[in-house]
């Protein structure tokens, strides 16, 4: 019936790959069959006092073994609990949720990830069949950047300048004179807002994956809306639901 399932799944791996950043593999069954890059899952705490699911982006899809990889940062009590889980523990998960990126094959692409917006770009970079520049922005400590190197040329930006270009992802794009026909990006709203402006100025299409605090994750509660340019057919106001209508939108659709 539903496109998403809620079930308890086995954790096959959960390791810290950088300070406060964890990589979890789950036995996701049919969720792994249908998952697309840019989609997310809702992860539930075992401590039921933490009621709401945590939306976590899908970092990798292993269709052969029906596994999903989730890379997340510990930011609160929920993600702290997830970080303590070990191999063979279980976790409740619902997904895949939302719409992923639209793969525009054959176009020269820049893939941009900022902070914990980096993980979903990994599966995208794997599945996209085109010339790819991959730009990754960090505050200081880097993660996953080595894994991206298999799929395209990687450029790193760090706020403190410890690795790659000093500054943000846009600084790295300019420093390396990168051009593209299409931009795919995921990261904090100020970053996406800058990318939207950059894309507009250079006449490049951009797909942006947005984040917002969510409750239901399935489009019912209207907690995670973003402003849209046109009146949305579902809401009849200038709001779209990030969880259900997104999380990926064309830059031209949304006001950031």
């Amino acid at each position: 019936m539903a496109s998403a399932d809620k079930k308890r799944v086995l954790i096959t791996e959960n390791t810290e790959i950088a300070q406060g950043v964890f990589s979890m593999w789950i036995d996701a069954g049919n969720m792994a069959q249908s998952a697309k890059p840019g989609q997310f899952v809702s992860l539930f705490c075992n401590d039921k006092s933490y009621l709401l699911p945590r939306p976590i982006s899908i970092c990798e899809v292993d269709r052969d073994n029906l596994r999903l990889r989730l890379v997340y940062r510990v930011v609160g009590n929920g993600t702290k609990e997830f970080s303590k889980l070990i191999k063979n523990n279980t976790v409740e998960v619902m997904g895949p949720l939302g719409n992923g990126f639209t793969l525009e094959e054959g176009k020269k692409a820049i893939l941009i990830g900022g902070g914990i917006g980096i993980p979903p770009m990994l599966e995208l970079s794997k599945q996209l069949n085109c010339e790819k520049h991959i730009v990754l922005g960090y505050r200081d400590i880097t993660f996953l950047n080595k894994e991206f190197e298999t799929y395209g040329k990687v450029y790193v930006a760090t706020e403190d300048g410890s690795v790659g270009t000093k500054g943000n992802v846009l600084n790295a794009i300019l420093a390396n004179s990168l051009t593209a026909d299409i931009i795919y990006a995921c990261g904090p709203t100020p970053m996406l807002s800058g990318i939207k402006e950059f894309a507009l100025k250079n006449g490049v299409k951009a797909q942006l994956s947005l984040e917002e605090r969510m409750a239901c994750g399935i489009g019912a509660c209207l907690g995670c809306v973003c402003k849209t340019k046109e009146t949305d057919h579902h809401s009849n106001v200038n709001n779209k639901r990030i969880c259900k209508d997104g999380p990926v939108f064309y830059a031209s659709e949304v006001e950031l």
């Binding site: 239901c216 019912a220 907690g223 579902h234």
Partner: protein
């Protein structure tokens, strides 16, 4: 075994509905379970024109609960009537339309427009804590409750349920005022006004600063208020506030609620309402209770 209940002249196949604002008009949840399982669907609040709601963040989790300040975003009555009522009518369930407004005239306009629509009951939201005008302003003074109830009762073709706020000194005063003005039933409780501060950012979690607290954290307050109101008025009650499972629902029923609404639990499990219904049936079977009506208000 009889699970059907009667409220305001309408018969429901079971006493379980959805709490307004947690279920949209059921479209999203219909992907997860058959809405015909429900006694009724209570819709998200409907206003005369489309409302954009509050800025984000609109939701925040708290221990055992959550805060929301959606701000009653809704597409307005025309879209609701043309799209959502035909959708819900495909299912064998009753339709309770939640009505919101900023002024008495707004509420009247929606109620008058719905008079000729194929819906079963109207629930009047005079208790939303998240909009500046209307909402709760009508629900915190017994005179205002009485006045708006009387106005709407004159215009409504369907039975009207007044949804009460817990953010008052004495909820029984509001309940009596609604009853005196002709309300057919009462819904309680709406959310409790709360606040959460992010100590690292030294800022409010919600853009609206305050939000409505819901979830299991508020259940004991809600059960107490249902009990108090059940002993203060003759009209039936739809009880709600933190119901996560059948045991919670049965507490409300035993405290005096004829029906119950499941709210925040829908966000955690899209099948929550169906689970509550099954759990009630199982309890009745295990305790050899032939009729759910025996349980309503059985704890004195």
């Amino acid at each position: 075994m009889n699970t059907s209940v009667k409220l305001a002249g309408v018969t429901f196949k079971n006493p379980v509905t959805t709490a307004s604002g947690t279920f949209g008009s059921g479209i999203e949840y219909s992907e997860y379970f058959d809405l015909s399982r429900l006694g009724a669907v209570t819709t998200k609040g409907v206003s005369n024109v489309a409302w954009a709601g509050n800025p984000t963040p609109r939701v925040a989790e708290t221990y055992g609960g959550m805060l929301n300040a959606i701000g009653l975003q809704n597409p307005g009555m025309n879209v609701f009537i043309n799209r959502d009522i035909p959708f819900l009518r495909k299912y064998d369930t009753k339709i309770i339309v939640n009505v919101v407004g900023k002024t008495t005239e707004d509420y009247c306009e929606v109620v008058e427009r719905l008079a000729d629509c194929d819906v079963d009951l109207l629930e009047i939201n005079i208790s939303c804590p998240n909009v500046k005008e209307g909402g709760i302003a009508f629900g915190q003074d017994p005179k205002c409750v009485e006045a708006i109830t009387a106005q709407l009762k004159k215009r409504a073709k369907q039975p009207i349920i007044m949804k009460l706020s817990p953010n008052v000194t004495d909820i029984t005063e509001m309940a009596r005022a609604a009853e005196a003005a002709g309300a057919d039933a009462l819904s309680l409780i709406n959310t409790l006004t709360g606040m959460k501060i992010d100590i690292n950012r030294r800022a409010f979690l919600l853009a609206n600063k305050t939000g409505g607290l819901s979830g299991p954290a508020i259940k004991p307050i809600a059960v107490r208020m249902v009990y108090q109101v059940a002993n203060a008025v003759q009209i039936p009650i739809i009880g709600m506030g933190g119901i996560m499972n059948a045991e919670d629902a049965l507490e409300f029923i035993m405290a005096g609620a004829s029906m119950v609404a499941v709210g925040t639990a829908n966000f955690i499990n899209p099948n929550a309402t169906a689970t509550v219904i099954e759990g009630i049936e199982e309890y009745m079977k295990n305790h050899n209770i032939p009729d759910i009506n025996e349980l309503i208000g059985c704890v004195k």
